[in-house]
């Protein structure tokens, strides 16, 4: 299985997911570093993400949008608060308006990603912290939930294939 464990703390509004991949730490790092690879997995197939900016350095920013099946764009931004290649990155994550400007009222989420080599594989741990349930709800409303349901069959097929899911 790709996903080893998850932990959710409803009181602190945080979620931790641990996954392992059959690839080197350097290789897994590139799926974060390379925007063309990042946009292949960040959004579900029905709501693909497009990264217009991806300044992958400490203090750098990323801006992206997700496109709904109807062609509507939802924008988001990241700010990289720590980047220690190839083992650790931290970023703030929020919504943006049509001009790509952060929408402060919707709050900021914080993500911490660590990569470590374990028995020839790479263990990726992602910890996400949210400021409020409203923010989390907004994020789901951004189309992710719909896209998620549509993508379900496809993802299940991937996960069921031992050659691909390991």
């Amino acid at each position: 299985m790709t996903v080893i464990s998850t932990q959710k703390d409803a009181a602190a509004l945080s979620m931790t997911i641990v996954a392992e991949f059959d690839a080197s730490v350097e290789r897994v790092w590139r799926i974060w570093e390379d925007p063309r690879q990042l946009e292949r997995w960040w959004g579900p197939p029905a709501y693909p993400a497009t990264f217009e900016q991806h300044d992958f350095v400490p203090g750098g920013s990323a801006s992206y949008y997700m496109t709904s099946p109807e062609g509507e764009k939802s924008r988001g931004w990241w700010r990289f608060t720590a980047i220690e290649a190839p083992n650790r990155l931290e970023f703030d994550d929020g919504f943006a308006d049509d001009n790509g400007e952060p929408v402060a009222a919707m709050g900021t989420a914080h993500g911490v990603v660590t990569l470590e080599a374990v028995d020839g594989r790479t263990r990726m741990t992602v910890v996400s912290n949210f400021e409020s349930a409203e923010q989390l709800e907004q994020m789901m409303a951004m189309g992710m939930e719909e896209g998620m349901k549509e993508a379900m069959g496809q993802i299940d097929a991937i996960l069921a294939d031992p050659a691909l899911s390991r």
Partner: protein, 110 residues
Amino acid sequence: MVVDQLGDTGIDRLFQALADATRRDIVAKAMAGEYSVSGLAALYDMSFAAVQKHVAVLERASLITKQKRGREQIVRVHYEGLQRARRLLDEYEAIWRQRAGRIAEILAED
């Protein structure tokens, strides 16, 4: 799929979501009886400010509410908030499980 699980989400299951021992205990106490913030603070081997902070985290997450009564702040469990947070985190978890699946798919192309 995720939303369907909400139906049989009992108190036990919700408690699992409360990973912090002190906050879990605060919610458990507020479910069982009526406590003020200072009443709660007296029960723990930590400062009033520390307990107040835990209560504030729970309140911000819409898991409890505070009601003013005289000089006291009575802590009450906000059951809808607790369920909503749990449901949202379930959905967010599903999103990340799919992301991990897509990453594995990309890596398998190498």
